[in-house]
């Protein structure tokens, strides 16, 4: 399966690139509502940074950075952020996902509250997409047998 690559150039370039990719991914998530970008695109870039780590180094190295338990938790955590935002709008008196009502708890007016609502949704989507992409990749390359791979 994935074995340790003994090439110094790949490892060094990967070390430089991965933090920059993650920074760019976060930038894309944050600017989603006004310029090209958004939750899904940013989440894919974040996931690509982890997959680059996986390809350049070993599976065990990547697991030290993002363990399987944390990955499984992040899968659902993004959806919870999304649902929690919608639920807050419901409890504050509007319909589901009616971000204007968020102005009652945030110190902004109703129009700006919509901006913050969409932003929190994008963050939730980005986290879930990143976790799902990484877990898809790991599941497919190990053929589902993570536990045996991580013991080697």
């Amino acid at each position: 399966m994935i074995t340790l690559l003994e090439d110094i150039i790949v490892k060094t370039v990967c070390r430089i690139l991965v933090p920059l990719m993650q920074l760019f991914g976060l930038y894309v998530i944050a600017h989603g509502h006004g310029s090209p970008g958004g939750g899904f695109q940013g989440g894919c870039i974040l996931a690509a940074s982890f997959i680059l780590l996986l390809v350049a180094f070993d599976l065990a190295e990547a697991k030290k950075r993002l363990s399987e338990k944390l990955n499984n938790f992040l899968n659902s955590f993004g959806v919870f952020i999304y649902a929690w935002t919608g639920w807050m709008c419901l409890l504050l008196g509007g319909n589901f996902l009616d971000y204007g009502k968020l102005s009652k708890i945030l110190p902004v007016d109703s129009v700006k509250a919509r901006y913050f609502g969409v932003f929190s949704i994008e963050v939730g989507v980005g986290i879930t997409v990143m976790a799902v992409m990484v877990s898809l990749f790991i599941d497919l390359i190990t053929g589902g047998k993570h536990e045996e791979e991580s013991e080697k």
């Binding site: 338990k69 499984n72 938790f73 319909n95």
Partner: protein
């Protein structure tokens, strides 16, 4: 008011609980079942609340995010929707309770994954029923499809290949639906169903609208397993786990038929679907072929579940025949048959699952040796009552829906449809009595005057209570809803039929 928010609650609650099951299941396996059943109970109560509101107040318009349609996504609940919501959530809850012992035996290490995906599947079907936006329906259709691909692949030996074939065909169906929505968007600029039905009548002469209609029919036909697009169904539903078969057989095809009704009568006005292009005539004749094909091929099967899959194809033929007759009686029969068929198919597949749980195989030729009438008398009684309902014997509900369909066929002066309905009832009688004979009747033994035939004591080895109780609630529903058919029609279905009929 919490009752104003039921349309959102019915979708959001199972969604959140499905992901909670995913997290909690990492540590403890026991709570997963209880969380799933509680989410489905909340959905069921919300759906009854929605039906109540619709009967007293009329159509509900729920705007997600507070945006006005056609800019925002809107959930529109009228009588047809509310009726189907109650059916889907009811069967989801019952099969969820049924699945406890079954999943513990079939796949004990995958319990959290099963319940998480099952709750998502029920949520997706409820969302497909409640939405009033064409593209939102595509998204929820894909949620349903992905969840069912995963659930079907968890089954027995031939399941992954059957699920792969289902993936290929299901993707074609969903992509054709997407193309249809795309054409309508290019031509009108709107995605909301009510808005489309106002903008389209001026454009009925354009070719793009005609092609969009064709794409819709084929895409929905693949999802609904309408003959000749049904090829994925027998393999997929036979090899799936028992609870999964019981749920999807009862609901997915019916929600597909509901989407067909929305496309034919809400998005495109009845004038277009019936007079301008003879879509309903084509659908009617294909439905006759589906009924005949399903019943005839069901006679030839050994495996109980495969036989029931072919009966399901015939039942979809009944519903589409009712839709295509395009008069009040036919549509009433079709909508009533949606409810009856959901209960009947879920009950029949539950019986097949109970037999599989106890004996490990479902071959009909073994039924006599296994002495099922002595070992599982309650299960076999449920099977017999449901079989009588499929054939159409009063006072079970199957009789009333077939009655309305036949009257609708006579009203429309389509004698061939009426004869086809009666003929397929006779064929399904042959199918079911073949099985009932193997269960209950023995061939006459030759008389031995010398030695006594020793009768061994056959101990009753019935299916567990958590599997029997949902089955009996469904059987009770079949009997009670049959007797109450008149009331159901006058309260709900009468308003569910589109107003111009």
């Amino acid at each position: 008011m919490i009752s104003d928010q039921f349309p959102a609650l019915i979708i959001v609650f199972p969604l959140i609980i499905a992901f909670w099951i995913n997290i909690v299941g990492w540590w403890w396996k026991k709570p997963c079942f209880y969380m799933s059943v509680s989410a489905l109970t909340v959905s069921f109560i919300s759906s009854i609340g929605i039906l109540n509101t619709v009967i007293t107040n009329g159509t509900i318009h729920y705007r997600l995010g507070g945006w006005e349609p056609p800019w925002g996504i809107e959930y529109v609940v009228d009588h047809l929707n509310a009726f189907l919501l109650v059916i889907v959530s009811f069967i989801g809850l019952l099969v969820g309770i049924y699945s406890k012992r079954d999943i513990e035996k079939e796949m004990p290490q995958k319990i959290p994954q099963f319940y998480s995906v099952y709750t998502l599947l029920v949520m997706g079907l409820l969302g497909m029923t409640i939405t009033g936006d064409a593209f939102n329906l595509y998204v929820l259709l894909e949620i349903v499809s992905l969840a069912s691909y995963a659930l079907i692949a968890m089954g027995e030996d031939g399941a992954p290949l059957a699920s792969f074939n289902y993936v290929i065909m299901g993707t074609i169906g969903a992509c054709f639906y997407l193309l249809g929505v795309g054409y309508l968007y290019i031509v009108t600029g709107s995605l909301n169903m009510a808005d489309l039905s106002e903008l389209l009548p001026k454009l009925y002469h354009s070719k793009a609208v005609l092609v969009a209609f064709a794409f819709f029919l084929i895409g929905i036909g693949i999802k609904m397993a309408f003959f000749p697009l049904h090829v994925w169904l027998p393999d997929a539903y036979t090899h799936a786990p028992s609870s999964v078969s019981a749920f999807v057989a009862g609901t997915m095809t019916k929600v597909g038929a509901y989407v067909l009704m929305r496309v034919l009568f809400t998005i495109f006005r009845p004038y277009f679907s019936i007079e301008l292009i003879p879509a309903t005539t084509v659908l009617g004749w294909t439905a006759v072929a589906a009924m005949m094909y399903g019943c005839v091929l069901a006679i030839a099967q050994h495996d109980l579940k495969r036989m029931l899959c072919y009966i399901l194809i015939a039942e979809v033929g009944y519903i589409v025949l009712g839709i295509s007759m395009a008069n009040r009686m036919g549509l009433t029969g079709a909508i009533l048959h949606i409810m009856n068929d959901a209960l009947m198919m879920a009950c029949l597949f539950s019986v097949a699952g109970a037999i599989m749980y106890k004996f490990g195989n479902r071959d009909i030729t073994n039924f006599r040796q296994q002495q099922l009438n002595k070992k599982m008398p309650f299960t076999m009684a449920a099977f017999t009552i449901t079989a009588l309902s499929v054939v159409g014997i009063p006072p079970t509900c199957g009789f009333f829906s077939k009655w309305y369909l036949i009257i609708g066929a006579i009203d429309a002066r389509q004698w061939v449809f009426a004869i086809a309905l009666i003929l397929s009832s006779l064929l399904s009688a042959v199918v079911f009595f073949k099985v009932i004979e193997k269960i209950y009747f023995k061939p006459r033994e030759p008389v031995h005057p010398h030695n006594e035939v020793t009768h061994e004591e056959v101990v009753m080895d019935e299916a567990p209570m958590s599997m029997l109780i949902p089955m009996y609630i469904m059987v009770g529903g079949i009997l009670i809803l049959g007797i109450l058919s008149g009331q159901i029609i006058s309260t709900v279905i009468q308003f569910a039929v589109p107003a111009s009929f």
